[in-house]
């Protein structure tokens, strides 16, 4: 059932991603950095909001007038800032929605990833409340509608005896202090919680990507600026509580639920919202994902080098004081509650070398379900049989190109993530004559199921990151094919044939 949902979601997601994949290279594709892009939009919201705050007046008449001043008289700066404030907020909703859908359909929310998923839910609520309180502050007809409907929603919670909505039905009941309260919520209270929420959201991630690529930031900012200049955000008429506005230009990104209050009832809207939130919160356990065994440290071979700590994308490995008699001061320790068994720590371990001839191949850190030893055996089994050029394909399990190469009957060695493959295994494959060429197939950066598999692999092969590949390896015999996990025609066979052709030459 859940797998079917994932498949359907991937198909729907494909509608968005196909034109995007044509337009962008991997590192510049906004779909690969949706979380970071959301944070960037929130930066725009914050900076433009500070400008608006300088001119904003927290009173019933002052609120509308000050926003009108910014929009009309100071259109060249205040008006642009106001529009940026709105449009960046709206853009953040799109990236958040896509971020949630992407993490869901690619199954990156279960097992030990539940914490990041669950902490995203209050973040979404906070961002919506921030947006709604922002509309409230303008105190135009839309604000009047938002105020009354929000108060009706609050009134339906059976903890208040006096009706809050009644305060928004005549001007004489509305006080300036109310605007001070709303301004406090929108400008200080909620943003502080939001920053804390974002910190909590990425708390379990090692090296969270907070900023997208500069080019992506620049392009997004330019898009928002152009939109702000061509189509500036404007207010409705000033709120007049004796009248009910007949037609409103709703911001559907933030206010899509509000018409439902009239169509259903405030109570049912709460049921709807709380219901959706509850479903999202319990999703990681519905059903729970079968957990593979976490990485295992073998102290006899752990020298406390910390590379596994640096490379683990989920902060599951830490260094603790040594517990054995050796002279090393520290040893690696795996938190099973955080480890998602990607094997990237094995790829980082300098003792995971297939060249070891004495004793069992047991690295300092290893995956019990996909050991470094088994990986070496698979390479040997897939090795060269005759005199013709032979290529061994290493593929990560989530790689969309895997079915293609398996169907073609190529010699494939599977790893959990390409980051699990220590560079010494590439050296071993070539120098021991198991193959004449090596093709590495995996998920492109930004789409790696385990976050940093592609990035670390590239850096290790480029001799920029430990453990580096030995300089003796002829890199012309090594080809890499990264693909987004949604790619249909991944093109692995073409890459294979191109490598084979170059080997024959």
């Amino acid at each position: 059932m859940i797998e079917r949902l994932h498949r359907m979601g991937r198909a729907l997601f494909g509608i968005v991603r196909r034109p995007m994949a044509r337009a962008f290279d991997g590192a510049e594709n906004p779909l690969n950095y949706l979380g970071a892009l959301t944070i960037f939009f929130l930066w725009i919201v914050l900076i433009s909001g500070i400008w608006l705050l300088v001119f904003f007046r927290t009173s019933v008449s002052g609120a509308f007038e000050s926003v009108e001043y910014l929009t009309r008289e100071q259109w060249y700066l205040g008006g642009i800032m106001r529009s940026l404030h709105r449009y960046a907020s709206d853009a953040a909703i799109i990236t958040i929605l896509l971020h949630i859908v992407k993490e869901f359909v690619f199954n990156r929310y279960r097992s030990n990833r539940w914490f990041t998923w669950v902490t995203g839910v209050p973040l979404v609520w906070m961002i919506f409340i921030l947006g709604i309180t922002g509309y409230w502050l303008v105190w135009d007809e839309l604000a009047q509608y938002v105020a009354i409907t929000s108060a009706e929603l609050m009134d339906s919670i059976p903890i208040f005896t006096e009706s809050m909505a009644g305060n928004f039905l005549s001007d004489d009941l509305l006080s300036n202090r109310f605007f001070t309260l709303m301004a406090f919520l929108h400008l200080i209270g909620l943003p502080i919680f939001l920053v804390f929420g974002i910190w909590l959201h990425v708390f379990r991630l090692n090296g969270p990507r907070i900023n997208p690529a500069r080019r992506m930031m620049a392009a997004s900012l330019i898009a928002m600026l152009v939109l702000s200049a061509l189509y500036p955000a404007v207010s409705h008429d000033q709120a007049e509580l004796a009248m009910t506005p007949q037609s409103l230009r709703l911001d559907w990104f933030y206010l899509h639920v509000y018409p439902l209050v009239q169509i259903w009832s405030p109570g049912w809207v709460w049921v709807f919202l709380v219901g959706i939130s509850t479903v999202i919160v319990v999703a990681p356990w519905a059903p729970p994902q079968k957990k593979e065994q976490p990485a295992l440290v073998t102290l006899d071979f752990c020298n406390g080098c910390e590379r596994c700590v640096d490379d683990c994308p989920f902060g599951a490995v830490e260094m603790v004081p040594r517990t054995d008699e050796t002279n090393y001061t520290h040893q690696a320790s795996v938190d099973p509650g955080l480890c998602i068994s990607c094997g990237i720590c094995v790829g980082a371990c300098p003792t995971a070398t297939p060249f070891r001839s004495r004793g069992e191949l047991l690295p300092g850190i290893d995956l019990p379900d996909r050991t470094a030893s088994a990986l070496r055996e698979d390479i040997v089994a897939a090795g060269k049989q005759g005199d013709t050029p032979h290529v061994i394909v290493f593929s990560c399990r989530g790689d969309p190109q895997l079915p293609e190469v398996e169907k073609a009957g190529l010699s494939v060695v599977k790893v959990n993530c390409m980051g699990q493959l220590p560079p010494s295994y590439v050296d071993f494959t070539l120098s021991r004559g198991h193959a004449d060429g090596v093709l590495l197939l995996g998920c492109q950066d930004g789409n790696c199921s385990y976050r940093y598999g592609a990035a670390w692999t590239e850096q290790r092969l480029a001799r920029q990151r430990d453990p580096m590949i030995r300089s003796r390896v002829d890199m012309s015999r090594v080809a890499i094919g990264w693909q987004a996990p949604w790619s249909k025609n991944a093109g692995a066979i073409q890459k294979y044939e191109a490598l084979l052709q170059s080997l024959e030459q």
């Binding site: 337009a23 510049e28 898009a223 928002m224 009910t244 709703l250």
Partner: protein, 163 residues
């Protein structure tokens, strides 16, 4: 070509953002309708009279529990009716709030009515009587389209306010 496609993608993104931030517009009230809002909180009368304690009864009570009279906490529900001519717009018996049913009864109702002249009658009964009203007010008004007429009950003057 790739750059053009990239610009196109950002343009589409900006257009979606700009469009959905204001479009489609939402029709809140039909063109020839007005809103009548009935909103107030009012505590009904207590369900019984207070009874003075006799000296003997007071003597039997612990010193910290002694009080001059025993008053029932519960209050009567509040019955409210709003009519426009012969048409009943709202009729409800509101329960007092609180687990001891000793709090105020609250009402917040917004009703859409056609614009034009309305002979409005609003009545409230808070004494538990089955018929008649303890407080009532009638007024004839011309409601323009989009008008938000608010009917409240002023607890100080004990009368309905219609604005």
């Amino acid at each position: 070509m790739k750059r053009l496609a990239e610009i196109l993608m950002y343009t589409v993104f900006a257009v979606v953002v700009g469009a959905l931030s204001v479009w489609p517009s939402y029709e809140l009230v039909d063109g020839d309708h007005a809103i009548v809002s009935l909103v107030f909180s009012h505590a009904g009368e207590r369900i019984g009279e207070c009874r003075k304690f006799s000296q003997e009864e007071l003597n039997e009570l612990p010193p910290n529990m002694r009080k001059p009279a025993d008053c029932p906490r519960e209050r009567h529900p509040v019955r409210v009716e709003l009519r426009s001519g012969d048409q009943v717009l709202y009729e409800e018996t509101l329960s007092p709030s609180g687990i001891w049913a000793d709090g105020k009864a609250s009402i917040y109702q917004r009703m859409m009515v056609s614009s034009g002249t309305h002979a409005l009658f609003v009545g409230m009964n808070d004494s538990g009587e089955q018929s008649g009203f303890d407080y009532e007010r009638s007024v004839t008004l011309d409601l323009t389209p989009g008008r938000n007429l608010v009917i409240r009950f002023d607890t100080q003057t004990q009368q309905f306010l219609i604005r």
